[in-house]
Chain length 138, copies 2
DNA sequence: GTAACGTACAACCAAATGGTTATACAAGAA
DNA sequence: TTCTTGTATAACCATTTGGTTGTACGTTAC
């Protein structure tokens, strides 16, 4: 199983969704067993609408899926998104290892690095990539 | 290696910091090699101050560490925090597996028994925990 | 010394977040 | 039918976020 890689926007959504303890809690409950939004909302002191919004955030991040069952919306966790996020974190770890695989960690690609003047300790290994956003990154 | 577990607030900070593509990019660069804030800022079209703010967010999340070197602040990645986040994601996965270890997966566990701090494998795992934002939260 | 560099931070702004209450509607139960 | 439950959404509000410009300050280069 390969598990699709995350686009930058998807990664944004997933990590954002995970960056709130209430939402992490909702996700845990949804993982333990599917349940309606209302039964979820009962567990919190905040308003039903607030919980609903959290569910929506989780849904937009694909961390959960809603499924209508009669008059209820059943919330089900989608572990694939969790795994994708996990994979992205693994890539950071990978970069870390690659750093030490580079012999010396000094004087990397001589290619361009037109004015990497300063920073003698670490010239530009593979860093000469397109600077700004647009997720290019490896 | 045990790797400290994350408090809710730390988890908030880490995932929040990761929920922005510019910050993930900065983190990747910092992982590849330590460098000053200015050399990082050169890679982006946004203002220096904006990059500085992103660095601060990453620092508060302990994803990077700053270290003064002469007049420069050197930004260094702290992979431990990445690993902690990874571990938290693993716990979701773990919950998922426990769900199917429970014989039956009886849904709708009413779950009131407010004492089960031990994550029983059967009925309601730790579902009864004070879900809401306890003291700490924002 | 002065100049340039790297950094820090304040003040400001628009947009997004996280919460509230209130209203509306469909499905089941009585 | 009416009542209740579960859901959805709008309007509103305070705070945070992500960006800007401007100012200030210590360190290094000249």
């Amino acid at each position: 199983m390969v598990i699709q890689e995350l686009s930058e926007a998807e990664a944004d959504a997933i990590f954002r969704a995970l960056a709130d303890s209430t939402r992490r809690d909702i996700l845990r409950r949804a993982i333990r067993h599917e349940q309606s939004i209302s039964s979820l909302a009962e567990r919190y002191t905040m308003s039903w609408a607030a919980v609903q919004k959290h569910v929506t955030v989780l849904e937009r991040a694909s961390l959960i899926v809603k499924e209508r069952r009669g008059k209820e919306q059943i919330v089900r966790a989608n572990l694939d998104s969790v795994r994708r996020a996990s994979l992205l974190l693994d890539q950071f770890e990978q970069l870390w290892h690659e750093r030490f695989d580079r012999i010396g960690d000094i004087l990397g690609s001589p290619a361009e690095a037109p004015t990497d003047t300063g920073v003698p300790l670490d010239s530009a290994p593979s860093d000469t990539a397109p600077p700004d956003k647009e997720g290019t990154e490896r």
